[in-house]
Subunit: 316 residues, 6 copies
C-alpha cells in the first residue's frame, strides 16, 4: 500500500510550444498536469510509494492521463473512469512580465463529480500521509465534501494530512475561497503555503515567522512557508527558521510548489527533521522550474544526490 | 452589407498533427472550425460578401477566431465578445475504419449564450440569403430561440433561408433533435441535407427523389440532397435530378457539406439554375475533403475555374 | 496475476517523422517497440491482463520503456533494471518498393543479458498462456537458454506456450536460425508463423494447409498461418480453413503479426473456437497497419466491436 | 475612417525556428513583418483605428499578408492586389554577438511599384496622423514620390505626419539615404529616430538633447529619440527630458521601434502630453522585444494597464 | 575529372511541410532543387562522377546549396561564389487537382549572371557527357550565351550533349521559349523531352514515334520521350520502341524527369544499349516521385539492383 | 593536400529538440558530432584546408556523416566505408545543474576498427599539422595503435602534432586513461588541455603556469591550457601568460574546446604568435557555445573579423 496518498483532479495540459499570446501560438504539446499527481510523481521519483484517488473521463484523454500517471509508478487502482463526463483540459500561456495565464476547460469534468463515496477507508488508512490541496474543494461541493471526508478518515486512522492551499481565483470567488481554506487549514497537520497565499489568508504581516506562528495557532503541527528563491521558513510548535533556497534558471514556475511538497514529505518519510526535509524541498523546487512542463523536471533521488554533492558533467 | 449572413458557433479546433487515438498523439495545431463560418468563408472565396453573427469569449481564443474570420473577409461587425464566458474548443481524432471522433469542450461557451436580442433586424434584412444549420439549436434553448427569431426576421424581409441539418448526436438526444429539426425544416426555403440525415429525419426511403419530394412537401422550395462521391440530387417543386460529383482524394471529410452549401449559394447568387449551382457545389465539395482543416481546401473562384476547365500545372 | 505472460526485449524506437532514406530524414520521434510487449499491450487493450519479463538498462531510455509499458497496464514487476548495460535502440527507415529497413543498436544491450535465473516459476505458473517469439533466442546464448527454460516451466505448470517465429536475419545467420527455431517449434502449443516464414522453415509448399499439417506433425496443437491481406489459415489436429482478412490502409506493416497474436490469444482466453479467434486476430491486424508506430493502432475491445459491427462516425 | 494611416511595404517573413547561421537552420515559420503595419497593428491593439495603404502581389503570399493585417483589425480597403508583381519575402537570421541579419527578396516586389496615384486624398485627409518610415523611399523612385505626395496631402489637410527614419543600408547607399531622409525630416511633424540613426544623420553629438534640438531646428515639432533600454529623450520646441525605459528580456529586438511609435501615437491620440506618451511608448517597446516575431508581443491596452499597475499572475 | 558535367541554377527550395494553399501553410523545410544538380546527384548515386558549373550568392543560402551538392559527391570546383548577387529561392505549393505551383524569387539571382567566360574548356573537354536543360537559357541572355558556348565547346571536344527541354512558362514567353528551345535541340546529341513538351514544341502528333522521328530529323542522335507512368519511347536513327515504366506511389512528381536523365546517362556510361538505359531511367523515375523533395528519393545503384531484382524487406 | 589532418570517430548525434531528462523528450534532430571533425570543420571555416581519416559504416548514417563533412569542405578521400560495422550513434541530454549527459551507442562501431594500416604516410606527410584527441585511443586497442602510428609518421615527416586530451570516462577507466594519455602527451608538439583535465592528469596545482610548465617539461613545445570563460593560459618553453576570454551566452558547451583548437591552429597557420593565436582560439570558443550543435556556431573568418572589430547589425 502507498506511503502517501493524494486526491484531486489531473487534466490534460495543452502546452504551447512557443511563448506569447495564445492567439499567435499555433502548436501545442499534449502533457498532463495536476497539483496532487505532481506531488505523487515527485515523491515516487524520490523513492517512496504513492497512490492517487480521482475520477477521469473514460475517453482518450482520460486514458492518456491514467497511463502517464501509472507509468510514473503511482498506484491508480482507486481511479474511477467515468463514461458520462469528460476529462478536464487546460491551456497554458507563457508570457512575460507577469502576464502568464491558464485557460481551464474543466467545468463539469469527471473529477468535479468526485464523491465522498469514492473514498476507500482501508486504502487511506494504510498510508502514512494524505496530501491535499485547496484546488479540489474549489471544483464542486461534492469535491469539497470529499476532501472533508478524506481528512476525517485520515484523522481516524492516524494518517497525517498535509495541505497546500494552491489558491486559484479562476475557480472560485475570493471570499468563499478564504473561508473554506481557513476552515480546512484548521484540520490539517502539515501546511505548505506560499507567502502570498499567507498574505491573502491572514492579511499582510511583517515577517515569515509571524505567518507561521499564526498558522500554528490555528491547528497545523508543521508549517513550511515557501518564500520563492529565498527558500522557505519552516516551523513547528517549538522552533522555526529560514532554510535557504538554491538558485536555478526559471523556465516555468508551475510545479515548483508541488516539487517542494514532494521533497518535504519525502524527507519526513525518511525520518529527517523539518529543516533537513526543507532543504530537500528547496532543492526539488529548484529543479522543478527549469522545464516548461509541471513535473518533468522533478529530480530523482539520484539527481538530488548528485546536485547536493555538486557533481558536474566533466569528462562524461 | 453582406449578400449572405450566417449565424452560429465557431470554435478553436485543436487538430492533431498525426492520425491515431488521441492518447498517443502528442502535437496539435490550432485552427478554427464552425459549420456556418465555413460556409461564409467559402462563399467569400467564390467572390460574394458574407457576414457572421455570433458570440465569442473575449479571451485569446476568441480574439484568434475573430481575426481568422475577419482575415478571410467575412464581416464580423455583429459578433459580440463576451468577457464572462469562454470560447469553445474541440479536438479532432483521425482514425481509420469509421472510428474518427471529435471531443467538444463547448458547454456553456460564449456562443451557447446567443440570444434573440443579439439579432440586428436591419442587418439580416439587407442580405439575400440567411444560412443556418442544425447545430445552433442544439447548443441551448436561447440558441434555438435565436435561430427561430432569425428565420422570422428573414421571412419578414424576403430574405431566403438555407438550412443544413448538420445532425450532431453528441449535442442532443435523437428524439429531440429530430423533432426540432423537422420543425425548422418546415420554415426554410432551401434545404441541404445529407442522405443519411434524410434517412434519420424521414425514415429509410428507396430513392433520392423520394426524400427530396417528401421534404418539398414539408415546405422548402429547393432541396439539395448530398450523396457523397456520387454527387447530389437536386430538386425544386417542378424538377429534380442527380448532378454527378467529382472525384478527389479524401483526407478529411469534415467541411465537405459546408463547401457544398457555399458553392450552391454562390451559384444561386450568380443567377445560375439549381443544377448548375449544384455542379459548383459538388466541385467545391471535391476540393474540401483534400486537406485536414475544415475550410482551408475550399476553392477560390480562380481555383474553381481552373478545375472545371481541367487546367494542369504543366510547364509552370 | 496476469493471464498471459511474455518474455523478450523492448527497445526505444527512433521513428523518422518522414519517409525516405535516413541520410535525408532529420527528425525522429521517440517511441517504443518490441514484438512481445506489442502482444502484451494488444491483449491488455482487448481486456485481459498481461505481464512482461525482461531486462532494461537503468538509464533514461530504460525508464522510458518501462513507464510506457506500465502505463499501458502491463505488469512489469518482473522487469530487471540493470545499471551496467544500456537499453537497446533502433531506427526505422520507411522507404518504398520493399526497401524499408531497421538499424539496430542492441548488441550487448541489457535484454541480451537475460538469464534463466531471471525467471520466477511461480509467476509463469500462474498464467494461462506464455507467449514467446523467435527474436529472443537470436539475441544471445543466455537468451536462448532463458527461452528454453521458460518453455520448460510452462510445460511443467500446464501453461500453454504460443510462439511467433519472427525471423530476423539481421540478428543471426540463416542456418542457425532455422535449426533453433525448428527445435523450439517442436516444444510449443500454438504456432503463429507468417507464410514466408513457413517457406523458410519448411521449404516451399503448395497450399497453406500443407504448411499447417507439417507443423502440426512437428508438435504444436494449433497453427495459425498468417497470409497477409488474404487473412489466415487456421488449423488444429482435426480441422483447418482460411479465415478471411479485413481490408485497411497500410501505413506501416510492423506490428501486424503482433496484433494478430494478441487478437488470437484474446479470443482463446474468451473461450472462442480457433476460427472465431482468428477473425478477431485478422481484425486486430487490420487495425495495426494503419499507423507508423508498432502498437498504437491496436484496437481496444470497444474499437473492435465498433469495427465488427460496422459502426461509422456519422452524426458525431 | 481610421485615426492613423500608414503607408509602406509588408512582406512575408520566413522566420527560422532556431537561432544560428541560416545554412544550418532547416525549418522556417511563415509570419509577416513590415515596419508600418507593425505600427498600425500596435495602435489597433491599444484601442485606436488604423488604415494601411500598400500594394501586394495577388498571389498566395499577398493573400496571406492581407488576411493577417485585416484580421488584426487594420483597414485594408486601400490595398491594391497586383497580378503582375510578387509579394516581397525576407528571411531573418538570429545570431549572437551582433551578427544577426536579414535577407531580402523584395526587388521589384508589388510594393516597390507604389505610385502617387495610389493615394486617396479623402482617405488620408480623414485621419489625425499619417505615419511614414524611411524604408518606403528606399524601395524605388515611385515609392519616394508616393511618400512625398502623401506628406503633401497630409499637410494640406491638417493631418500630422510622424516619421521613423528606419535606416536600412541593405536598400540604398549611405549618401543617398542621408540626403533623402534629411529632406523628408524637414517636412514632418513628429520625428522618432533611434540614437544611432541620429548619429548617422547629424554626426556624433554629446547628449540626447543636442540631437533633439538640432532636429527641431530642422522642422519637426516633436522629437522622440529612442535610447534603447535607457528609455527615450522627448522634446518639443519648449521642453525636453529623458523618460526612463522598462526592463524586459530581449529575444528579438526587431519591432521595438515600431511598438514605440505605436505607443507614442496612441498616447497623443488619447490627449496625453509627450512625456506620458513616451512612457507608454517605452512600455510598448519593452513588450515588443520579448518574442521572435515583429508585432506578436505588442501589448493590448489591457496588457499595458496590467503591466503599468504591476499586476502579476499569482493565484490565477 | 567528372564523366558528366552539368550547368545551371540551383536554388534553395522552401518546401511546405503540409499540402494546401500557401496562405495556410505555416512551416517550411529548407532543401535545395535544381534540374541539373538533380541529374548530377542522380548519376553520382548510380556510381559515376559528375561536376556542376554555376554561380551562387556567397551568402548563407549559397553556402548551403554548395555544401549539399558537394556533400552528394558532385565536383563543385567550378562554381563561382558571388558577393554581389543573391542565391535564388523558390517555394513549392502542393495542391490537388493540378493546381500545384511554384513561386520563384530568382530574378537577378547569382546564377542569372552566368557568363560564357565562366566556362573552363579543359574541364568540359574532359567529360563524356555535357547535360543541359531548357531552364538555363530562360534565365537571362548571358545564360543563353553560356549554354550556347558550352554546346560549342562540347562539340569541339567530342563531348556528347544531352538536353532536357524542361519548359517553364513562368520564366519566359511561349513564343520565345519555343524558338530558342528548337534552335538548341538542333545542336544536341541526346534529347529527353516529355510528351507534352514534344506537343508544345512540334505540335500535336498521333504517336510517340512521330515525335521521336521528327526530333531525330532535326539533329539529335537519340531521343528519349518520357510518357509518364507508361514508360518512355526510345529511338535512335535506326530503331525505336516503348520501354515500359514501373508503378510506384506518387507523392511529388518534381524531379522525375531528372531521375530519368540520370538513369539514362548512367546506362549509357555503362555501355548499355538505349533500351536497357531507358529501363534504368524508368526505374529511377519510379523512385523519384515517392518523396516530396526533388532528388532525395533517387536510387543508389544498390537500391536499383534490389528493386530490379524484386528484393523485399522480409525477415530484416 | 590539406594543411591540417585529423583522425578519429564522428558519430550521428541525436540531439533532443528540448531540454530535460530523455525519458520525457520526444523529438530528436539528427546532426553529426566528432571532436576531430569539429576541429577540421572549424579550421576550414577560418580559411584553411583540412582532411579527415576515419572509418564509417557504409549504411545510411555513414553516408550522412560523410556528406556533411564533405559538404563542409573537409577532404574525406581517406575515409573508409565499411559494410560490416555500423556507424556510431549518440544521444545528448541537456539538463540543468551539471546533470547533462551523453548516451553512446558506439561499441564495435566502424571507427573502433581503425587500424594503423588505414594510414597513408604520404597523405599525412603533406600536412603542416596532425591533430589528435584522447578519444580515439579509448575506442579500441587498434585505435590506440593507429594514433601511435600516426604520431610516428608525423614525426618522421616533420608534421607537428597537436593533441587535445578530451577525457571521456564513459569510454575507459580512469587509471588506464591517465597512463595512456600521459604517454601520448610526451610525444606531441602542441597540447591543448582543459584545466580540469590538467588536474586529473597531473594532480591539483596552484596556478595555470604550474600545469603548463609541468607539461612542457614532459615534451610538448606549446601548451594552451583552457580556463573556461576566463580565457586560456598559453606558454612555450620561453614565455607564458593568460590570454583573456570573450563573454557570450552559453547554450551548449560541447564543441568549445574544438573551436579553441581550430582557432589556435588557424592562428599558427597564419604565422601569428601563440598569444595572438590564443585570442583567435578564445573568440572561436565564445562563438561555439551559443548553439546546441557541436560545430554549427563556429565562426567563419568573416564572422571572426566582424566580431573582433565589434561590428553590429545596426541599419542592416
Amino acid at each position: 500500500m502507498p506511503e502517501v496518498i493524494t486526491l484531486g483532479e489531473t487534466m490534460v495540459l495543452m502546452n504551447p510550444t512557443e511563448a506569447g499570446p495564445l492567439r499567435y501560438v499555433d502548436r501545442f504539446k499534449k502533457q498532463i498536469a495536476g497539483a496532487e499527481t505532481n506531488v505523487a510523481i515527485g515523491i515516487n521519483k524520490l523513492g517512496h510509494s504513492t497512490g492517487w484517488i480521482s475520477r477521469l473521463g473514460s475517453d482518450e484523454f482520460g486514458q492518456y492521463v491514467l497511463s502517464v500517471i501509472k507509468g510514473e509508478g503511482v498506484d491508480t487502482s482507486r481511479v474511477i473512469m467515468d463514461v458520462d463526463t469528460p476529462t478536464g483540459v487546460f491551456f497554458k500561456e507563457r508570457r512575460i512580465l507577469g502576464l502568464s495565464q491558464v485557460y481551464y476547460y474543466r467545468r463539469q469534468s469527471a473529477a468535479s463529480y468526485m464523491l465522498p463515496e469514492d473514498l476507500d477507508e482501508e486504502y487511506i488508512a494504510s498510508a502514512r500521509y494524505l496530501h491535499l490541496t485547496g484546488i479540489t474543494p474549489a471544483l464542486s461541493s461534492s469535491c469539497l465534501a470529499t476532501v472533508q471526508q478524506a481528512i476525517e478518515i485520515a484523522h481516524q486512522n492516524n494518517v497525517l494530512v498535509s495541505f497546500d492551499p494552491n489558491i486559484r481565483f479562476k475557480l472560485w470567488d475570493r471570499r468563499k475561497a478564504k473561508e473554506i481554506l481557513l476552515s480546512l487549514i484548521r484540520e490539517v497537520d502539515i501546511l505548505l503555503p506560499g507567502v502570498k497565499e499567507a498574505d491573502m489568508l491572514l492579511g499582510k504581516m511583517d515577517e515569515p515567522e509571524d505567518y507561521a506562528q499564526k498558522f500554528i495557532e490555528m491547528g497545523p503541527e508543521i508549517v513550511a512557508l515557501k518564500l520563492g528563491k529565498t527558500g522557505s521558513y519552516i516551523a513547528d510548535k517549538e522552533k522555526g527558521r529560514i532554510v535557504e533556497g538554491f538558485s536555478s534558471t526559471e523556465v516555468d514556475a508551475a510545479g515548483a510548489g508541488d516539487a517542494f511538497a514532494a521533497g518535504f514529505l519525502s524527507g519526513l518519510l525518511e525520518g529527517k527533521d523539518i529543516f533537513e526535509a526543507a532543504m530537500i524541498a528547496n532543492a526539488a523546487g529548484a529543479f522543478a522550474v527549469t522545464l516548461p512542463g509541471d513535473y518533468e523536471a522533478f529530480p530523482t533521488s539520484q539527481d538530488l544526490n548528485a546536485f547536493l554533492k555538486g557533481n558536474s558533467d566533466i569528462f562524461r
